[in-house]
Symmetry: C2
Subunit: 189 residues, 2 copies
């Protein structure tokens, strides 16, 4: 197995263990055991549990950041931008459910620099999300409702989707995308 593939496997197995037992309770020994390799071999690929956490969380946060930046730079309508944001959340949730669970539960265990970097990315993401909503209301594309309530309603659903999807593995991603976009944008009535 190539070194890069081995690293991906470590990340996938560690994310699953972090989700099941909580980051603090998992040891490097647990991860090695789950991979059926010796702890010493694990250290050939990765220095520490902290490094694994950084790989899991920062990679996802950077993906959210870069796709959001593309969305912001595009000339699409606000509604199209919101649709892309919903799709982004669903894509990452479906592909990396465990890693997203780790991001949501374990981000506070990141060390100083990575923690600051993560929080900065999260704040920029939320700020961009807010800008889309504010512009959508100003342009008359969205209903003139309270900005905070709109943001929270969308955000609460998108952010906790990994919990729901974790229990509904195999739920058709295309059905999820089309139905959730309908519900969040146009309501259920």
């Amino acid at each position: 197995m190539k070194s890069q593939d081995r690293k991906k496997e470590i990340i996938a197995i560690a994310a699953k263990l972090f989700k099941e037992k909580g980051y603090s309770a998992v040891t490097m020994r647990d991860i090695a055991q789950a991979m059926d390799i010796k702890a010493a071999s694990l250290y050939n690929h990765i220095r520490s549990k902290q490094e694994i956490l950084v790989l899991i969380i920062i990679e996802i946060a950077e993906e959210f950041t870069s796709v959001m930046n593309e969305i912001m730079l595009s000339n699409e309508t606000c509604i199209q931008k919101i649709e892309k944001v919903i799709q982004l959340h669903i894509d990452i949730t479906v592909r990396d459910t465990d890693a997203l669970a780790s991001l949501n539960s374990d981000w506070m265990h990141l060390a100083d620099d990575e923690l600051a970097y993560f929080i900065k990315m999260r704040e920029e993401y939320e700020e961009n999300f807010r800008k889309i909503i504010v512009k959508g209301i100003a342009d008359g594309e969205l209903k003139d409702l309270n900005t905070e309530v709109i943001i929270f309603s969308l955000h609460s659903t998108l952010r906790t989707l990994y919990l729901w999807y974790g229990r509904k593995k195999g739920f058709n991603a295309a059905v999820l995308k089309s139905n959730m976009t309908q519900v969040l944008l146009h309501g259920i009535v």
Copy 2:
């Protein structure tokens, strides 16, 4: 102070401490200290931390249950029923933010009988919520979208509202009710 009022004060202060430090980390001594009374006096009103948790959680769960049962028995349309469910969540969130946080984070610390009672109430509540949605779709009141996606989208917002409201104390409850009902039922476009 009347014994009943003292009990209410204990519950309010304990719920706040549970939210801040987590149920397991809070001691009866901490609760007594926060109330500026001796631990021995606290035991005159309440037997244990477990009893406080039961008072906090079971009372709220019973309120959700009884109002939901009234809603189910009414002759209103499904849309009206969903509006009442949204209002119920907002009313309890605004009135008992800390207690609801404790319900969401600490329910698993309930002892056997109370835990079973709580889970039964929660399951019945979710089952009733599902019945409203299923009937709404069958009657053509709601869009013919995936039931699970509709339920999750509404539920995720209503269930995490206490987190948002905890950071937005003082947000006008009437504005929250009218805007959230609009967003959840009719969307943002």
